[in-house]
Protein backbone atom coordinates (compact mmCIF):
# COMPACT_ATOMS: atom_id res chain seq x y z
CA UNK A 1 0.00 0.00 0.00
CA UNK A 2 1.43 3.40 -0.98
CA UNK A 3 1.39 5.82 1.92
CA UNK A 4 1.08 9.53 1.44
CA UNK A 5 3.81 11.10 3.64
CA UNK A 6 1.24 13.60 4.83
CA UNK A 7 -1.10 10.82 5.95
CA UNK A 8 -0.76 9.25 9.36
CA UNK A 9 -0.05 5.56 9.50
CA UNK A 10 -2.31 5.40 12.55
CA UNK A 11 -4.36 8.02 14.34
CA UNK A 12 -6.30 7.25 17.53
CA UNK A 13 -8.61 9.80 19.19
CA UNK A 14 -10.21 8.99 22.54
CA UNK A 15 -10.24 5.32 21.68
CA UNK A 16 -11.66 2.91 24.25
CA UNK A 17 -11.68 -0.88 24.23
CA UNK A 18 -13.61 -3.35 26.34
CA UNK A 19 -13.92 -7.11 25.89
CA UNK A 20 -17.58 -8.10 25.94
CA UNK A 21 -19.34 -6.53 28.90
CA UNK A 22 -16.14 -6.23 30.96
CA UNK A 23 -14.47 -2.99 32.10
CA UNK A 24 -12.58 -0.79 29.63
CA UNK A 25 -9.01 -2.02 29.24
CA UNK A 26 -8.11 1.03 27.18
CA UNK A 27 -9.49 4.49 27.96
CA UNK A 28 -9.34 7.63 25.84
CA UNK A 29 -6.21 6.55 23.99
CA UNK A 30 -4.97 9.32 21.72
CA UNK A 31 -1.83 9.19 19.57
CA UNK A 32 -0.58 9.44 16.03
CA UNK A 33 2.04 7.40 14.17
CA UNK A 34 3.69 9.32 11.33
CA UNK A 35 5.18 7.40 8.40
CA UNK A 36 8.76 6.31 9.20
CA UNK A 37 8.46 6.83 12.96
CA UNK A 38 9.80 4.41 15.60
CA UNK A 39 8.08 4.07 18.97
CA UNK A 40 8.47 1.94 22.02
CA UNK A 41 5.34 0.87 23.86
CA UNK A 42 6.02 0.28 27.54
CA UNK A 43 4.05 -0.32 30.70
CA UNK A 44 3.53 -2.90 33.41
CA UNK A 45 2.05 -6.31 32.66
CA UNK A 46 -1.72 -6.13 32.20
CA UNK A 47 -1.64 -2.38 31.52
CA UNK A 48 -3.06 -2.81 28.01
CA UNK A 49 0.02 -2.97 25.74
CA UNK A 50 -1.11 -6.11 23.94
CA UNK A 51 -4.67 -4.77 23.67
CA UNK A 52 -3.41 -1.59 22.03
CA UNK A 53 -1.29 -3.61 19.60
CA UNK A 54 -4.27 -5.89 18.82
CA UNK A 55 -6.39 -2.85 18.04
CA UNK A 56 -3.68 -1.47 15.77
CA UNK A 57 -3.08 -4.68 13.85
CA UNK A 58 -6.86 -5.10 13.45
CA UNK A 59 -7.43 -8.14 15.65
CA UNK A 60 -10.17 -6.09 17.37
CA UNK A 61 -12.27 -3.04 16.63
CA UNK A 62 -12.45 -0.23 19.20
CA UNK A 63 -15.49 0.00 21.47
CA UNK A 64 -15.50 3.78 21.08
CA UNK A 65 -13.47 6.67 19.73
CA UNK A 66 -11.98 7.42 16.35
CA UNK A 67 -9.41 5.07 14.86
CA UNK A 68 -7.80 5.73 11.49
CA UNK A 69 -5.32 3.39 9.81
CA UNK A 70 -3.64 4.50 6.58
CA UNK A 71 -6.22 7.29 6.38
CA UNK A 72 -9.21 4.94 6.65
CA UNK A 73 -11.78 5.21 9.43
CA UNK A 74 -11.83 1.67 10.81
CA UNK A 75 -15.36 2.00 12.22
CA UNK A 76 -16.81 2.53 8.75
CA UNK A 77 -14.44 0.28 6.77
CA UNK A 78 -16.34 -2.80 5.53
CA UNK A 79 -15.06 -6.14 6.82
CA UNK A 80 -14.07 -7.32 3.33
CA UNK A 81 -11.65 -4.37 3.02
CA UNK A 82 -9.77 -5.18 6.24
CA UNK A 83 -7.48 -7.90 4.72
CA UNK A 84 -5.95 -5.33 2.36
CA UNK A 85 -5.15 -3.09 5.35
CA UNK A 86 -3.74 -6.03 7.32
CA UNK A 87 -1.35 -6.81 4.46
CA UNK A 88 0.22 -3.41 5.12
CA UNK A 89 0.89 -4.36 8.74
CA UNK A 90 3.57 -6.82 9.83
CA UNK A 91 3.18 -8.37 13.26
CA UNK A 92 5.79 -10.09 15.41
CA UNK A 93 3.68 -11.91 17.98
CA UNK A 94 4.84 -12.41 21.55
CA UNK A 95 4.64 -16.21 21.27
CA UNK A 96 5.74 -16.17 17.59
CA UNK A 97 2.49 -17.84 16.45
CA UNK A 98 4.23 -19.80 13.72
CA UNK A 99 2.10 -22.54 12.18
CA UNK A 100 3.58 -25.69 13.69
CA UNK A 101 2.96 -28.04 10.76
CA UNK A 102 4.53 -25.73 8.16
CA UNK A 103 8.23 -25.43 7.37
CA UNK A 104 10.12 -22.19 8.08
CA UNK A 105 9.91 -21.45 4.36
CA UNK A 106 6.12 -21.90 4.24
CA UNK A 107 5.58 -19.88 7.43
CA UNK A 108 7.55 -16.97 6.02
CA UNK A 109 5.84 -17.33 2.62
CA UNK A 110 2.36 -17.06 4.18
CA UNK A 111 1.78 -13.28 3.67
CA UNK A 112 2.88 -13.54 0.03
CA UNK A 113 0.64 -16.53 -0.64
CA UNK A 114 -2.44 -14.87 0.85
CA UNK A 115 -1.63 -11.84 -1.32
CA UNK A 116 -1.72 -14.12 -4.39
CA UNK A 117 1.95 -13.84 -5.45
CA UNK A 118 3.24 -16.42 -7.96
CA UNK A 119 5.22 -19.33 -6.49
CA UNK A 120 8.50 -18.62 -8.37
CA UNK A 121 8.47 -15.03 -7.02
CA UNK A 122 7.61 -16.28 -3.52
CA UNK A 123 10.57 -18.69 -3.63
CA UNK A 124 12.96 -15.93 -4.67
CA UNK A 125 11.79 -13.45 -1.98
CA UNK A 126 11.58 -15.96 0.87
CA UNK A 127 14.98 -17.52 0.22
CA UNK A 128 16.57 -14.07 0.06
CA UNK A 129 14.99 -13.00 3.35
CA UNK A 130 15.84 -16.25 5.13
CA UNK A 131 19.48 -15.70 4.20
CA UNK A 132 19.19 -12.15 5.61
CA UNK A 133 17.87 -13.39 8.98
CA UNK A 134 20.35 -16.28 9.04
CA UNK A 135 17.85 -19.13 8.63
CA UNK A 136 19.01 -20.36 5.23
CA UNK A 137 19.99 -23.72 6.76
CA UNK A 138 16.59 -24.16 8.43
CA UNK A 139 14.24 -23.54 5.50
CA UNK A 140 12.64 -26.98 5.71
CA UNK A 141 12.69 -27.22 9.51
CA UNK A 142 9.39 -27.07 11.36
CA UNK A 143 8.98 -24.68 14.32
CA UNK A 144 9.14 -27.37 17.04
CA UNK A 145 12.72 -28.13 15.97
CA UNK A 146 13.84 -24.47 16.04
CA UNK A 147 15.41 -22.66 19.01
CA UNK A 148 13.69 -19.61 20.58
CA UNK A 149 15.93 -17.21 18.67
CA UNK A 150 15.37 -19.02 15.38
CA UNK A 151 11.60 -18.96 15.90
CA UNK A 152 11.81 -15.26 16.66
CA UNK A 153 13.74 -14.59 13.46
CA UNK A 154 11.30 -16.69 11.44
CA UNK A 155 8.47 -14.70 13.00
CA UNK A 156 10.19 -11.42 12.10
CA UNK A 157 10.84 -12.66 8.55
CA UNK A 158 7.14 -13.47 8.18
CA UNK A 159 6.25 -10.01 9.51
CA UNK A 160 8.47 -8.14 7.05
CA UNK A 161 8.36 -10.37 3.92
CA UNK A 162 5.52 -8.38 2.33
CA UNK A 163 7.32 -5.06 3.04
CA UNK A 164 4.65 -3.70 5.38
CA UNK A 165 4.26 0.01 6.02
CA UNK A 166 3.77 -0.63 9.73
CA UNK A 167 5.68 -3.20 11.78
CA UNK A 168 4.43 -4.08 15.26
CA UNK A 169 6.36 -6.31 17.64
CA UNK A 170 4.96 -7.55 20.93
CA UNK A 171 7.74 -8.27 23.46
CA UNK A 172 10.14 -9.46 20.73
CA UNK A 173 13.02 -9.70 23.22
CA UNK A 174 11.03 -11.46 25.92
CA UNK A 175 12.11 -14.99 25.03
CA UNK A 176 15.66 -14.40 23.82
CA UNK A 177 18.93 -13.55 25.57
CA UNK A 178 20.18 -9.96 25.83
CA UNK A 179 22.60 -10.26 22.91
CA UNK A 180 19.88 -11.61 20.62
CA UNK A 181 17.54 -8.88 21.95
CA UNK A 182 19.93 -6.14 20.81
CA UNK A 183 20.40 -7.84 17.44
CA UNK A 184 16.65 -7.88 16.92
CA UNK A 185 16.35 -4.21 17.90
CA UNK A 186 19.03 -3.28 15.38
CA UNK A 187 17.17 -5.31 12.77
CA UNK A 188 14.06 -3.20 13.46
CA UNK A 189 16.17 -0.04 13.21
CA UNK A 190 17.43 -1.14 9.79
CA UNK A 191 13.85 -1.70 8.65
CA UNK A 192 12.88 1.69 10.07
CA UNK A 193 15.66 3.34 8.06
CA UNK A 194 14.12 1.75 4.96
CA UNK A 195 10.89 3.65 5.76
CA UNK A 196 8.91 1.16 7.81
CA UNK A 197 7.01 2.62 10.75
CA UNK A 198 7.86 0.56 13.84
CA UNK A 199 6.15 0.04 17.19
CA UNK A 200 7.86 -2.27 19.68
CA UNK A 201 6.18 -3.27 22.94
CA UNK A 202 8.79 -4.14 25.55
CA UNK A 203 9.54 -4.41 29.27
CA UNK A 204 13.21 -3.68 28.72
CA UNK A 205 13.49 -0.09 30.05
CA UNK A 206 17.28 -0.06 29.73
CA UNK A 207 17.07 -0.79 26.03
CA UNK A 208 14.37 1.87 25.59
CA UNK A 209 16.57 4.51 27.25
CA UNK A 210 19.61 3.44 25.28
CA UNK A 211 17.98 3.53 21.87
CA UNK A 212 16.24 6.84 22.57
CA UNK A 213 13.08 6.51 20.49
CA UNK A 214 9.76 8.14 21.55
CA UNK A 215 7.94 6.16 24.19
CA UNK A 216 4.25 5.43 24.45
CA UNK A 217 3.72 4.58 28.11
CA UNK A 218 0.51 2.84 29.04
CA UNK A 219 -0.73 2.51 32.60
CA UNK A 220 -4.17 1.44 33.79
CA UNK A 221 -5.41 1.61 30.21
CA UNK A 222 -4.34 5.23 29.71
CA UNK A 223 -1.61 6.25 27.24
CA UNK A 224 1.03 9.00 27.51
CA UNK A 225 3.57 9.71 24.80
CA UNK A 226 7.01 11.17 25.55
CA UNK A 227 9.35 12.32 22.78
CA UNK A 228 12.59 10.48 22.21
CA UNK A 229 16.14 11.69 22.40
CA UNK A 230 16.97 10.43 18.92
CA UNK A 231 16.15 12.11 15.60
CA UNK A 232 13.03 10.61 14.04
CA UNK A 233 11.78 10.08 10.52
CA UNK A 234 8.36 10.88 11.93
CA UNK A 235 7.13 12.12 15.30
CA UNK A 236 4.52 11.29 17.91
CA UNK A 237 1.92 13.68 19.24
Amino acid sequence: MDIDPATSIARFENVGLRYGLGPEVLQDVTFELKPGSYHFLVGPSGAGKSSLLKLTYLAHRPSRGLMHLFGRDIATTPRENLPALRRSIGVVFQEYRLLQHLSTFDNVALPLRVAGMREPDIKHHVEELLVWVGLQDHMNARPPTLSGGQKQRASIARAVIARPSLLMADEPTGNVDERMGYRLMHLFEELNKLGTTVVVATHNEAMVRELGHPVMRIENGTLNVTPGTKAQNGRAL
Binding site: A59, P83, R86, L99, D106, P111
Partner: protein
Protein backbone atom coordinates in the same frame (compact mmCIF):
# COMPACT_ATOMS: atom_id res chain seq x y z
CA UNK B 1 -11.06 -21.71 -8.39
CA UNK B 2 -13.60 -22.56 -5.69
CA UNK B 3 -11.43 -25.30 -4.17
CA UNK B 4 -7.72 -25.26 -3.36
CA UNK B 5 -5.39 -28.27 -3.35
CA UNK B 6 -2.64 -26.74 -1.22
CA UNK B 7 -3.41 -25.95 2.38
CA UNK B 8 -1.80 -23.83 5.08
CA UNK B 9 -3.95 -25.59 7.67
CA UNK B 10 -3.24 -29.17 8.82
CA UNK B 11 -6.72 -30.32 7.81
CA UNK B 12 -5.59 -33.85 6.98
CA UNK B 13 -4.53 -34.30 10.62
CA UNK B 14 -8.07 -33.77 11.94
CA UNK B 15 -9.30 -37.00 13.58
CA UNK B 16 -12.81 -36.45 12.23
CA UNK B 17 -11.64 -36.04 8.66
CA UNK B 18 -10.45 -39.67 8.65
CA UNK B 19 -14.04 -40.82 9.15
CA UNK B 20 -15.62 -38.50 6.63
CA UNK B 21 -14.78 -40.53 3.47
CA UNK B 22 -16.26 -43.65 5.09
CA UNK B 23 -19.40 -41.82 6.21
CA UNK B 24 -19.81 -40.40 2.71
CA UNK B 25 -19.09 -43.87 1.24
CA UNK B 26 -21.94 -45.32 3.30
CA UNK B 27 -24.29 -42.55 2.21
CA UNK B 28 -23.29 -42.84 -1.46
CA UNK B 29 -23.90 -46.61 -1.20
CA UNK B 30 -27.45 -45.97 0.07
CA UNK B 31 -27.95 -43.17 -2.45
CA UNK B 32 -26.89 -45.46 -5.31
CA UNK B 33 -29.44 -48.08 -4.22
CA UNK B 34 -32.19 -45.47 -3.82
CA UNK B 35 -31.34 -43.86 -7.16
CA UNK B 36 -31.25 -47.23 -8.95
CA UNK B 37 -34.63 -48.05 -7.39
CA UNK B 38 -36.03 -44.70 -8.46
CA UNK B 39 -34.88 -45.12 -12.06
CA UNK B 40 -36.08 -48.76 -12.26
CA UNK B 41 -39.50 -47.79 -10.94
CA UNK B 42 -39.73 -44.94 -13.41
CA UNK B 43 -38.82 -47.27 -16.28
CA UNK B 44 -41.38 -49.80 -15.00
CA UNK B 45 -44.15 -47.20 -14.80
CA UNK B 46 -43.38 -45.91 -18.30
CA UNK B 47 -43.35 -49.40 -19.79
CA UNK B 48 -46.63 -50.28 -18.13
CA UNK B 49 -48.12 -47.00 -19.24
CA UNK B 50 -47.13 -47.40 -22.90
CA UNK B 51 -46.93 -51.20 -23.21
CA UNK B 52 -49.88 -52.48 -21.22
CA UNK B 53 -52.14 -49.65 -22.40
CA UNK B 54 -52.07 -51.21 -25.87
CA UNK B 55 -53.53 -54.48 -24.60
CA UNK B 56 -57.19 -55.55 -24.22
CA UNK B 57 -58.77 -58.72 -22.98
CA UNK B 58 -62.18 -59.75 -24.31
CA UNK B 59 -64.18 -62.19 -22.21
CA UNK B 60 -66.96 -64.25 -23.91
CA UNK B 61 -69.20 -66.09 -21.49
CA UNK B 62 -69.85 -69.70 -22.23
CA UNK B 63 -73.50 -70.73 -22.75
CA UNK B 64 -73.99 -73.96 -20.74
CA UNK B 65 -77.23 -74.75 -22.65
CA UNK B 66 -75.62 -74.42 -26.09
CA UNK B 67 -73.61 -77.11 -27.80
CA UNK B 68 -69.83 -76.87 -27.92
CA UNK B 69 -69.99 -76.25 -31.66
CA UNK B 70 -72.32 -73.29 -31.04
CA UNK B 71 -69.91 -71.88 -28.43
CA UNK B 72 -67.01 -72.21 -30.89
CA UNK B 73 -69.08 -70.35 -33.53
CA UNK B 74 -69.73 -67.53 -31.00
CA UNK B 75 -66.01 -67.33 -30.32
CA UNK B 76 -65.15 -67.26 -34.01
CA UNK B 77 -67.76 -64.57 -34.63
CA UNK B 78 -66.27 -62.42 -31.88
CA UNK B 79 -62.75 -62.98 -33.22
CA UNK B 80 -63.80 -61.85 -36.68
CA UNK B 81 -65.49 -58.73 -35.32
CA UNK B 82 -62.45 -57.81 -33.24
CA UNK B 83 -59.93 -58.49 -36.01
CA UNK B 84 -61.89 -56.30 -38.40
CA UNK B 85 -61.93 -53.39 -35.96
CA UNK B 86 -59.56 -50.58 -37.08
CA UNK B 87 -56.59 -50.27 -34.66
CA UNK B 88 -56.43 -53.95 -33.76
CA UNK B 89 -53.08 -55.43 -34.83
CA UNK B 90 -53.22 -58.88 -33.31
CA UNK B 91 -55.64 -61.26 -31.58
CA UNK B 92 -54.98 -64.54 -29.79
CA UNK B 93 -57.42 -66.91 -28.11
CA UNK B 94 -56.27 -67.95 -24.65
CA UNK B 95 -56.35 -71.73 -24.45
CA UNK B 96 -58.68 -73.45 -21.98
CA UNK B 97 -55.66 -74.98 -20.24
CA UNK B 98 -54.18 -71.49 -19.71
CA UNK B 99 -57.53 -70.19 -18.38
CA UNK B 100 -57.69 -73.11 -15.93
CA UNK B 101 -54.12 -72.39 -14.86
CA UNK B 102 -55.00 -68.71 -14.23
CA UNK B 103 -58.07 -69.73 -12.19
CA UNK B 104 -56.36 -72.51 -10.23
CA UNK B 105 -55.39 -70.25 -7.26
CA UNK B 106 -59.14 -69.68 -6.64
CA UNK B 107 -60.78 -72.90 -7.92
CA UNK B 108 -58.08 -75.47 -7.31
CA UNK B 109 -57.52 -78.28 -9.78
CA UNK B 110 -60.66 -78.55 -11.95
CA UNK B 111 -61.49 -79.90 -15.39
CA UNK B 112 -62.90 -77.77 -18.18
CA UNK B 113 -66.06 -79.85 -18.16
CA UNK B 114 -66.67 -79.17 -14.43
CA UNK B 115 -67.26 -75.39 -14.74
CA UNK B 116 -68.63 -73.14 -17.48
CA UNK B 117 -65.38 -71.47 -18.50
CA UNK B 118 -65.51 -68.13 -20.32
CA UNK B 119 -63.28 -67.84 -23.40
CA UNK B 120 -60.63 -65.13 -23.38
CA UNK B 121 -59.15 -63.29 -26.33
CA UNK B 122 -55.94 -61.25 -25.94
CA UNK B 123 -56.08 -58.22 -28.20
CA UNK B 124 -53.09 -56.07 -29.13
CA UNK B 125 -53.92 -52.61 -30.43
CA UNK B 126 -51.88 -50.02 -32.28
CA UNK B 127 -50.75 -47.48 -29.61
CA UNK B 128 -50.78 -44.73 -32.24
CA UNK B 129 -54.46 -45.28 -33.09
CA UNK B 130 -57.12 -44.36 -30.60
CA UNK B 131 -59.33 -47.45 -30.38
CA UNK B 132 -62.65 -46.63 -28.68
CA UNK B 133 -63.16 -49.45 -26.20
CA UNK B 134 -66.79 -48.44 -25.50
CA UNK B 135 -67.80 -48.77 -29.19
CA UNK B 136 -66.12 -52.19 -29.40
CA UNK B 137 -67.89 -53.22 -26.18
CA UNK B 138 -71.32 -52.11 -27.53
CA UNK B 139 -70.73 -53.81 -30.86
CA UNK B 140 -69.72 -57.12 -29.25
CA UNK B 141 -72.47 -57.03 -26.56
CA UNK B 142 -75.21 -56.45 -29.13
CA UNK B 143 -74.09 -59.51 -31.10
CA UNK B 144 -72.91 -61.77 -28.25
CA UNK B 145 -74.70 -60.79 -25.02
CA UNK B 146 -72.56 -60.85 -21.86
CA UNK B 147 -69.30 -60.14 -23.67
CA UNK B 148 -66.92 -57.88 -21.68
CA UNK B 149 -64.00 -55.85 -22.94
CA UNK B 150 -61.35 -55.12 -20.30
CA UNK B 151 -58.69 -52.52 -21.13
CA UNK B 152 -56.90 -53.08 -17.72
CA UNK B 153 -57.38 -49.36 -17.13
CA UNK B 154 -58.49 -49.59 -13.48
CA UNK B 155 -55.79 -51.91 -12.13
CA UNK B 156 -53.14 -50.38 -14.40
CA UNK B 157 -53.95 -46.93 -13.02
CA UNK B 158 -53.68 -48.28 -9.47
CA UNK B 159 -50.38 -50.01 -10.20
CA UNK B 160 -48.91 -46.89 -11.77
CA UNK B 161 -50.16 -44.83 -8.82
CA UNK B 162 -48.44 -47.27 -6.44
CA UNK B 163 -45.20 -47.13 -8.45
CA UNK B 164 -45.31 -43.32 -8.50
CA UNK B 165 -45.78 -43.33 -4.71
CA UNK B 166 -42.74 -45.60 -4.36
CA UNK B 167 -40.83 -43.21 -6.61
CA UNK B 168 -41.69 -40.28 -4.34
CA UNK B 169 -40.54 -42.35 -1.36
CA UNK B 170 -37.25 -43.22 -3.11
CA UNK B 171 -36.72 -39.54 -3.96
CA UNK B 172 -37.43 -38.69 -0.31
CA UNK B 173 -34.85 -41.24 0.83
CA UNK B 174 -32.33 -39.70 -1.59
CA UNK B 175 -33.07 -36.22 -0.22
CA UNK B 176 -32.63 -37.49 3.36
CA UNK B 177 -29.30 -39.12 2.48
CA UNK B 178 -28.12 -35.88 0.84
CA UNK B 179 -29.19 -33.86 3.91
CA UNK B 180 -27.39 -36.28 6.24
CA UNK B 181 -24.22 -36.12 4.09
CA UNK B 182 -24.29 -32.33 4.06
CA UNK B 183 -24.95 -32.24 7.82
CA UNK B 184 -21.91 -34.46 8.36
CA UNK B 185 -19.74 -32.15 6.24
CA UNK B 186 -21.05 -29.08 8.13
CA UNK B 187 -20.27 -30.74 11.48
CA UNK B 188 -16.77 -31.82 10.37
CA UNK B 189 -16.03 -28.36 8.94
CA UNK B 190 -17.20 -26.58 12.08
CA UNK B 191 -15.03 -28.87 14.18
CA UNK B 192 -12.11 -28.07 11.87
CA UNK B 193 -12.76 -24.34 12.30
CA UNK B 194 -12.67 -24.74 16.10
CA UNK B 195 -9.56 -26.96 16.09
CA UNK B 196 -7.66 -24.60 13.77
CA UNK B 197 -8.98 -21.36 15.24
CA UNK B 198 -5.46 -20.18 16.18
CA UNK B 199 -4.02 -20.83 12.72
CA UNK B 200 -7.05 -19.24 11.03
CA UNK B 201 -6.55 -16.12 13.13
CA UNK B 202 -2.91 -15.96 12.03
CA UNK B 203 -4.00 -16.29 8.40
CA UNK B 204 -6.54 -13.51 8.89
CA UNK B 205 -3.96 -11.26 10.53
CA UNK B 206 -1.53 -11.81 7.66
CA UNK B 207 -4.24 -10.50 5.33
CA UNK B 208 -6.05 -13.63 4.16
CA UNK B 209 -9.57 -13.15 2.81
CA UNK B 210 -12.28 -15.52 4.08
CA UNK B 211 -12.40 -17.08 0.61
CA UNK B 212 -8.68 -18.00 0.84
CA UNK B 213 -9.39 -20.02 4.00
CA UNK B 214 -12.70 -21.39 2.69
CA UNK B 215 -10.99 -22.68 -0.47
CA UNK B 216 -8.68 -24.83 1.63
CA UNK B 217 -11.56 -26.40 3.60
CA UNK B 218 -13.53 -26.85 0.37
CA UNK B 219 -10.59 -28.50 -1.39
CA UNK B 220 -10.15 -30.97 1.44
CA UNK B 221 -13.90 -31.72 1.65
CA UNK B 222 -14.08 -32.19 -2.14
CA UNK B 223 -11.22 -34.72 -2.03
CA UNK B 224 -12.79 -36.62 0.88
CA UNK B 225 -16.26 -36.52 -0.71
CA UNK B 226 -14.95 -37.83 -4.03
CA UNK B 227 -12.93 -40.56 -2.31
CA UNK B 228 -15.99 -41.56 -0.26
CA UNK B 229 -18.09 -41.51 -3.43
CA UNK B 230 -15.73 -43.88 -5.23
CA UNK B 231 -15.72 -46.29 -2.26
CA UNK B 232 -19.53 -46.13 -1.90
CA UNK B 233 -20.15 -46.69 -5.61
CA UNK B 234 -17.64 -49.56 -5.71
CA UNK B 235 -19.63 -51.27 -2.96
CA UNK B 236 -23.03 -50.43 -4.48
CA UNK B 237 -22.34 -51.83 -7.97
CA UNK B 238 -21.97 -55.49 -6.90
CA UNK B 239 -25.11 -55.13 -4.76
CA UNK B 240 -27.06 -53.74 -7.71
CA UNK B 241 -25.84 -56.51 -10.00
CA UNK B 242 -26.97 -59.14 -7.48
CA UNK B 243 -30.37 -57.41 -7.11
CA UNK B 244 -30.71 -57.21 -10.89
CA UNK B 245 -29.93 -60.93 -11.18
CA UNK B 246 -32.50 -61.81 -8.50
CA UNK B 247 -35.15 -59.54 -10.10
CA UNK B 248 -34.61 -61.22 -13.48
CA UNK B 249 -35.46 -64.54 -11.87
CA UNK B 250 -38.61 -63.18 -10.25
CA UNK B 251 -40.17 -61.47 -13.26
CA UNK B 252 -41.89 -64.68 -14.49
CA UNK B 253 -43.23 -62.99 -17.56
CA UNK B 254 -45.73 -60.87 -15.64
CA UNK B 255 -43.51 -57.86 -14.94
CA UNK B 256 -41.90 -55.86 -17.69
CA UNK B 257 -38.07 -55.74 -17.83
CA UNK B 258 -36.90 -53.73 -14.81
CA UNK B 259 -33.17 -53.53 -15.63
CA UNK B 260 -31.44 -50.12 -15.52
CA UNK B 261 -31.12 -48.28 -18.84
CA UNK B 262 -27.72 -46.89 -19.90
CA UNK B 263 -28.70 -43.41 -18.68
CA UNK B 264 -29.38 -44.96 -15.26
CA UNK B 265 -25.90 -46.48 -15.05
CA UNK B 266 -24.38 -43.17 -16.17
CA UNK B 267 -26.31 -41.29 -13.49
CA UNK B 268 -24.83 -43.69 -10.92
CA UNK B 269 -21.33 -43.16 -12.34
CA UNK B 270 -21.50 -39.40 -11.61
CA UNK B 271 -22.39 -40.00 -7.94
CA UNK B 272 -18.76 -39.71 -6.68
CA UNK B 273 -18.39 -36.42 -8.56
CA UNK B 274 -21.69 -35.19 -7.13
CA UNK B 275 -20.64 -36.28 -3.62
CA UNK B 276 -17.33 -34.42 -3.97
CA UNK B 277 -18.95 -31.25 -5.29
CA UNK B 278 -21.69 -31.31 -2.62
CA UNK B 279 -19.07 -31.78 0.13
CA UNK B 280 -16.85 -29.03 -1.29
CA UNK B 281 -19.59 -26.45 -1.68
CA UNK B 282 -21.08 -27.30 1.73
CA UNK B 283 -17.68 -26.84 3.41
CA UNK B 284 -17.09 -23.57 1.57
CA UNK B 285 -20.52 -22.22 2.52
CA UNK B 286 -20.02 -23.30 6.17
CA UNK B 287 -16.60 -21.64 6.43
CA UNK B 288 -17.73 -18.40 4.78
CA UNK B 289 -20.72 -18.21 7.07
CA UNK B 290 -18.74 -18.91 10.25
CA UNK B 291 -15.80 -16.64 9.46
CA UNK B 292 -18.18 -13.73 8.95
CA UNK B 293 -18.51 -13.65 12.74
CA UNK B 294 -14.79 -12.95 13.15
CA UNK B 295 -13.42 -9.42 12.74
Amino acid sequence: MMFSRRTDLPLDKDPLSHFLPWLIAFMVYLAALAQAGLISLDVLAQRWDTGMAAQLTVQIPSDPDASEAANVRRLQKALNMISNTPGVVHTAVVSEAKVLQLLSPWLGVVQAADVPLPRLIDVETDPDMQLDVRILQQKLSSTIPGTQVDDHGVWLARLIEMVRTLEVLAAGVLALILSAAMGTVVFTTRTGLTVHHEAIEVLHLTGAQDSYIAKQFAGRAWAMGFKGGIIGLSLALPTLLVLSYVADGLQAGMLPDMSLPLAGWLSLAVLPLAAGLAAGFTARFTVMRNLRRMI
